[in-house]
Symmetry: C2
Subunit: 431 residues, 2 copies
């Protein structure tokens, strides 16, 4: 099975018209995908994408086009080698290295290759991964820059230790699904009535956790958090998310003011590059919660690569790792991140929402539970009820959990009608 | 003076044909520039570019095109506001934030704006900066994410303390120029004879420092370092540069083997994102040099932004800050980096070479000496004798120093013939 062509698409949804997805740093996102289809000499195609919020999506598409010559003529028998070919090309590496647009583009192509490889063996990606040998999983990782925190041998030990429990956990996942939390009530553009109504609805729908956007105005945040807490009661987890709005000191001050409402975590309190800043914030909030409990720190959706995650863990800067399916170098780099988190004993709660991120990350979390961490404690995948109708295999949520996908591939494929209608700037949605 | 149009160019030089610029991570670079011209309603144009090493240069050009709508119709009266407009656009910020292709593109546009603003007042950029009030310099910086390490008030104190000595240091610069070191002998693709010949030539030309590329093969590195040391003698500084080739432990082992030859610094020993890794390497090499002296650590050319530099300084991870003119967000973010380095007392020795980087960074170092650090100790700007002939105001080196540029602007403007001949893929050089 050889890749013969790489087709790319600039797909944008005009979400800013409804303020869906509005937060303190991103007031008017148009959820978008730089989308790629790997055409082969077989019956199978690989579909993948990276997520952006509008302007500049065409730059990601151009970056995927720049990577295309590296994959045309290749197969996907060795997905470790496939991914390294993209991230090690010396001239293209200069544009990152392993960060920003060129890494977003690599994610789209690498994820498409996993979609293709899983379809060819007629398995969903989570099962394809969960049935792989530990050795083959280790071979998929680019180990450069990791050995001071995690060696391939240590990773092999983690994966081998999980092998005996794989089948029981797989049965459990197929029966119960993977826990979700919902961000739908908490967008900053929603008024108090909508916030309260959606928070109550989330509990009624079976969610044990919701999330609120914060960081634009402290008085507003206090009022909104109080309303949400009153709406859901004391036992539902309420995480808050500042989307990088603060400097270190501001994060500490602001969160001490919100701490009495018992935040489950503070997400993206400052720059995703600021490892030492996150560590300072985490230390300062170690006893800031009700009864002296910790206000935990979470980040990850904008963390550029495994090297930054390695340091966040080494520096004890985070309580939750929020990997993103399309920000780092696709499945391969996310395997490295899952292994690092397992080594350091930190739960992974992936970033999702946007467009298609829920569809992708469910595979990674289910794999994490079955074959890596073997642990569900404090794990939940973000869920946002937007734009799933554009996928041919959309996520299914039942009683606050992701039901396990059964279709072969990465659940990444958009409907042809959606690719046509939301093509930017010529699709009907943009006329 | 309003910006009316933004013209972009994909310019590439086929340098890989001669192995100029070859190192352990970049064996065959084609030095390239994603080049931009800001056309205005005045007699002045702003020229800028970002540097890449070939493939993907078209992606940077596409990113500059994506930024163009943010600057058309704007003026350059407030260069702080101008730069923040580019880096704070919420949709485009998602593509970094402040890193990778979109930040390289922002650098090109921001530097072009400084070229334009300096030309309009008929000063070279170094003088334009060095004659600015401390308040105006502080206003040019984006202070977000810096306050835990450096506040605007502290910066104002640093700049104000330098005011009384400005005119004496300016006279000194105009008389003596700024010290340079040369990387020309040390490319990995050169044979021993060429290395020895060029090292001796560097000393004859008045340089007090040279640099060797290392990291591909330890035995080769030991042989080449020994040859270079024999060629230049004990008093000439020899820095070595691994271009991110190593993991942390490998960097320590390798540098302990090279330490007897008295390296002036080890540059880019590992990932530019690995702040804690650099700190570990620096600690491990604290007494590894001859007579128990330190083997210093340097990095910066691939450091994505001021947040990473802030942490390298906070973590005591580097002995030298090697800012790059086009990797971070242009002059504005480099002012922040110069101020951080001054606060932490670490010398700045900019990365240069490539195409046009020498032309740009000389302005920053001269400004640093005159108006920020006020210190020349251990400072030197990299110099590589490649591709200067394509600029209308090329650097001038005399007795191992950069002579101060006298022409208005940022020395960034390429000759029209070069823009035509090296246009990729249609220019004559690529036929």
């Amino acid at each position: 099975m050889k890749i013969l062509a790489v087709d790319t698409f600039d797909i944008r949804f005009p979400t800013s018209r409804e303020l869906d997805g509005s937060d303190a740093m991103n007031p008017d996102p148009d959820y978008s995908a730089a989308y790629v289809v790997l055409r082969t000499d077989s019956e199978f195609e690989g579909h993948g994408f990276t997520f952006t919020i509008g302007r500049g999506n065409e730059v990601c598409r151009a970056a995927i086009d720049a990577l295309a010559p590296l994959v045309i003529g290749q197969d996907v028998d060795d997905l470790g080698e496939f991914a390294r070919r993209l991230t090690h090309d010396s001239q293209i590496r200069w544009l990152g290295p392993e960060k920003g647009v060129i890494h977003l583009a690599a994610a789209a192509v690498i994820n498409a290759a996993w979609d293709l490889a899983a379809k060819a063996v007629r398995k969903p990606v989570w099962r394809f991964l969960s049935e792989m040998s530990p050795e083959r999983i280790v071979d998929a990782v680019d180990w450069r820059y990791l050995s001071d925190a995690l060696t391939p041998d240590e990773a092999l030990d983690i994966l081998t230790a999980a092998v005996p429990g794989r089948s029981a956990r797989m049965a459990e996942m197929l029966r119960d699904g993977f826990p979700a939390y919902t961000t739908s009530p908490g967008w900053l553009g929603y008024d108090d009535e909508k916030l309260t109504r959606l928070a109550k609805q989330a509990v009624a729908d079976g969610y044990g956790q919701i999330k609120l956007k914060v960081g634009a105005d402290l008085d507003d945040d206090i009022r909104r958090f109080a309303l949400a807490r009153a709406a859901v009661g004391p036992s539902i987890r309420i995480a808050v998310d500042a989307n990088q709005r603060w400097d270190v000191d501001a994060a500490i001050t602001w969160m001490k003011a919100l701490a009495p409402f018992d935040p489950w975590w503070i997400e993206e309190p400052t720059s995703p590059d600021d490892i030492l800043g996150h560590a300072d914030i985490r230390r300062a909030l170690a006893t800031a919660g009700p009864g002296g409990k910790r206000v935990p720190v979470a980040t990850g959706e904008h963390v550029a690569n495994r090297v930054i995650f390695k340091q966040l863990l080494r520096a004890e800067a985070v309580d939750f790792v929020q990997l993103d399916a399309c920000r780092v170098g696709g499945v391969n780099e996310n395997i490295a991140i899952l292994l690092l988190a397992a080594k350091f004993g930190v739960p992974v709660c992936p970033h999702a929402g946007g467009v298609g991120l829920c569809e992708l990350v469910q595979h990674l979390s289910i794999f994490d539970y079955i074959a890596v961490s073997g642990d569900l404690a404090d794990r939940a995948i973000e869920y946002v009820d937007h734009l799933h109708e554009h996928f041919i295999d959309p996520v299914v949520i039942y009683q606050g959990s992701y039901l396990v996908p059964r279709t072969a591939g990465f659940s990444a494929q958009m409907r042809a009608q959606s690719l046509a209608r939301y093509a930017f700037p010529d699709g009907e949605a943009w006329q």
